[in-house]
């Protein structure tokens, strides 16, 4: 019946003067949009399944292809938009929960774009990072309450385990299963060369990544996939995943189709079985229970690993962060509602949670007020698009940031937001061998390193402009920030003044 027809989103435009019918696009498109005509020679396109991933556009040797938005107008209605109508059509058809990928695409305020940075003029000098030392080394972990020294000046404090990073930028959790092994390996290699960390997500650690365990954050989620003594001990730190910004209050669900032999080995479950991580950890129903899991990990690792608790940014985030700190977390990662995902129920992704900017500012403020800010390191997550976003996050109180979408874009991701289909033409969010082999870790790690190296330099430049030569002096330094076009309330929560003040 035609009632289920949903107009396509894009049109593939082929410049016939340029096209040489080589068939490159036919081979590249996993959505099977391009095909040979009956003559076996002429290449044609059916745009119905096009997701605008640009694989064909980028690889076309004669640049004959262009994707344009396909507009099939509905009667204008600010309330009943085409999107809501189409979503209802999909659900009327299937009875299914709507599933989407990547971060919240709705036009909610992006506070990074409403915060301006400071620079020095006359009264204190700016610093040129090309000629002067500029410190962006970042150290995560619980800091002791106070220093005590013996007579000769040597510290008598037993330091809790610390993690030294050469940049405040880490890679966020993306499990093997949600992304390909080649994508994970590229991040692992980049993390090692950059002196930072990648995060296994909740999918266990694949044996091919054992060389990178000093740069691995390993995750413990409610399904406990691949979690065992060695897994915990072969890591830089352990992260308890309570929530994810893209789907607060919702668990993970890797469908059986994506659990191939390799994924099954890492997760330690049979091939083809669903990997279900429900929303709650069933041994955590309270802050006290969280304390129990934190300490069980510390016991299993002889207190050698910091334990991180990752939560989604939700309404009472400040109080929750305080609770996590008191439960013994050494690092707390807060994931804002624009954070990415391989798959999340659309309604959750688009409606639940709060922006990282507000959550981070509120959490940092609360920890300071309670005098426990030094007990934990704060890691901000949930969509950092450029180095300026990172600088603003650090000035709002973050110790470090988790980035995932940006390095994926460096590896070819074009934000087509169909990760959940498992057909990623760039070999990132797929387990199909013919697609994953398109992503060569030996090349891609370099692109990721280039990106972070460039961002590192930009961070140093911005800091230098402020007259700051150490990232520690930027941390929580909200005097370096001014709001633009924000209400009193927003300024109050962010803890910043308005531009001009």
């Amino acid at each position: 019946m035609a009632i289920d027809y949903i107009p396509r989103s894009f049109t593939i435009v082929r410049d016939k003067e340029r096209c040489i019918d080589c068939g490159c696009c036919v081979r590249q498109c996993s959505n099977e949009c391009h095909y040979f005509a009956d003559d076996g020679k002429t290449v044609l396109a059916d745009s119905q399944n096009c997701v605008a991933c640009h694989r064909c556009v980028d690889l076309c040797p004669t640049h004959a292809l262009r994707i344009e938005k396909y507009i099939c107008d509905y009667r204008e209605n600010a309330n009943w938009t085409a999107q809501y109508q189409q979503e209802i059509c999909r659900q009327a058809d299937s009875g299914g929960t709507l599933l989407s990928a990547m971060g919240n695409p709705k036009p909610y305020p992006i506070y990074w774009d409403k915060i301006l940075l400071n620079a020095s003029q006359v009264t204190n000098p700016s610093i040129d990072p090309l000629r002067e030392p500029m410190e962006i080394r970042t150290i995560l972990g619980r800091k002791p309450e106070r220093m005590t020294v013996e007579e000769k000046g040597k510290s008598t404090i037993k330091m809790p385990p610390q993690v030294v990073l050469e940049t405040p930028i880490m890679f966020s959790a993306m499990s093997f299963g949600s992304i390909s092994l080649n994508a994970q390996k590229s991040l692992a290699m980049a993390a090692k060369n950059l002196g930072t960390l990648f995060n296994t997500g909740e999918g266990g650690l694949h044996p091919d990544l054992e060389a990178y365990t000093d740069h691995a954050i390993v995750q413990v989620a409610s399904g406990r996939f691949g979690v065992h003594k060695e897994y915990l001990n072969r890591s830089r730190y352990v992260e308890i995943k309570i929530g994810q910004g893209a789907k607060p209050g919702i668990g993970g669900h890797l469908p059986g189709e994506k659990v191939n032999v390799e994924v099954s080995n890492a997760r330690m479950i049979p091939v083809g079985s669903d990997a279900i991580s429900p929303a709650p950890h069933h041994d955590i129903y309270s802050i006290e229970d969280l304390r129990q899991l934190i300490w069980s990990i510390k016991q299993a690792t002889d207190n050698t690993k910091p334990v991180c608790v990752k939560i989604a940014a939700v309404h009472n985030v400040a109080a929750i962060v305080s609770g996590c700190a008191r439960a013994g977390a050494d690092i707390i990662a807060i994931d804002g509602f624009r954070g990415g995902t391989g798959a999340a129920p659309t309604r959750i992704r688009d409606n639940v949670g709060i922006p990282i900017e507000l959550a981070l500012a509120a959490a940092d403020q609360r920890l300071r007020e309670e005098g426990i800010r030094s007990h934990v390191s704060l890691v901000a997550a949930g969509s950092f698009r450029c180095s300026a976003d990172i600088v603003k996050a650090i000035a709002l109180g973050a110790d470090a940031c988790y980035c995932a979408s940006a390095p994926l874009i460096a590896m070819g991701c074009h934000m087509c937001r169909t990760c959940n289909t498992g057909k990623c033409n760039w070999g990132i969010a797929t387990q199909r061998p013919e697609l994953t082999k398109r992503l060569n870790p030996d090349i891609m790690h370099q692109r990721v390193e280039n990106l972070i190296t460039a961002w590192n330099h930009e961070i140093k430049e911005i800091m230098g402009g402020m007259g700051i030569n150490s990232i520690d002096s930027l941390r929580g330094n909200r005097l370096m920030l001014r709001g633009i076009g924000l209400s009193e309330k927003e300024l109050q929560i962010l803890g910043i003044k308005h531009a001009g003040e």
């Binding site: 399904g223 469908p255 479950i269």
Partner: protein, 244 residues
């Protein structure tokens, strides 16, 4: 020589146990009063004997070691264990064997809610949970592999073999139940089937172990019929979503 736990905190007790285990294969801890994480990640070849009430997360991440509790266990006993054996001469609290991937747990008496939740198997790793008396609600929730045996011994009048929402979300593994059980407490996705020859053989082995550990009579246990609970589908949520 044994270690006296007394009223000391878990860190001190566990540290002492760890030190003892460096030179010994078996350590006995007495006067245990709910200290947590006893036997945490205990390796193959090591044995820990506990007298008293073992605290939460007993034998978490158990790594092949053997734990004998002369007393009761509390919550999350055998949490995320990867192998080994736990024998409890008493009962256990909630979330027993959470996410256990291999090894065996024998509990003489009853267990509370969410026993065997998230039990999973992988290749030769097949976890086993044997419960002498009965179980609370949500037994075998999200279970995706392994075996639970529920013997129903010494049930008082009115006591049921398991609580509500039994095997909710279960999508792998099996649960053997002995005697009468409350069908109304089963989750809708669960099938009740008879034991195959292979199942019988497997079950006999576990029951023999149980009888040996707790001095029960094998014949009288096997005299009552067993049934097997299995999930109707291994993909209970396969058609839940529509791509948007």
């Amino acid at each position: 020589m044994s270690i006296k736990a007394g009223l000391r905190g878990f860190e001190a007790v566990n540290e002492e146990i760890k030190q003892e285990l460096l030179s010994k294969d078996k350590v006995v801890v007495e006067q245990v009063n709910g200290q947590r994480y006893l036997g945490c990640a205990l390796d193959t070849g090591k044995t820990l004997e506990i007298h008293g009430t073992a605290g939460n997360d007993l034998a978490c991440y158990l790594n092949g070691g053997r734990i004998i509790v002369h007393g009761n266990g509390q919550d999350a006993l055998g949490n995320t264990m990867g192998g080994g054996e736990i024998i409890v001469h008493g009962h256990s609290g909630d979330a027993l064997g959470y996410g256990m991937r291999d090894g065996q747990i024998y509990v003489r008496d009853n267990v509370c809610c969410r026993g065997g939740i998230h039990m999973k198997e992988f290749r030769a790793m097949k976890p086993v949970l044997v419960i002498g008396q009965n179980a609370g609600s949500f037994l075998g929730e999200y279970m995706s592999g392994g075996t639970i045996v529920l013997l129903g011994l010494n049930l008082k009048r009115g006591e049921k073999l398991f609580g509500t929402h039994c095997a909710s979300g279960m999508h792998g593994g099996k649960i053997f139940v002995r005697g009468a059980f409350p069908k109304q407490n089963l989750s809708p996705n669960i099938k009740v089937v008879s034991l195959e020859e292979e199942d019988k053989k497997e079950l006999e082995g576990y029951v023999k172990h149980y009888c040996k550990y707790f001095h029960e009579d094998y014949e009288s246990i096997m005299n009552k019929p067993f049934k097997k609970l299995v999930p109707a589908t291994s993909r209970p949520y396969a058609n839940m979503y529509v791509a948007n």
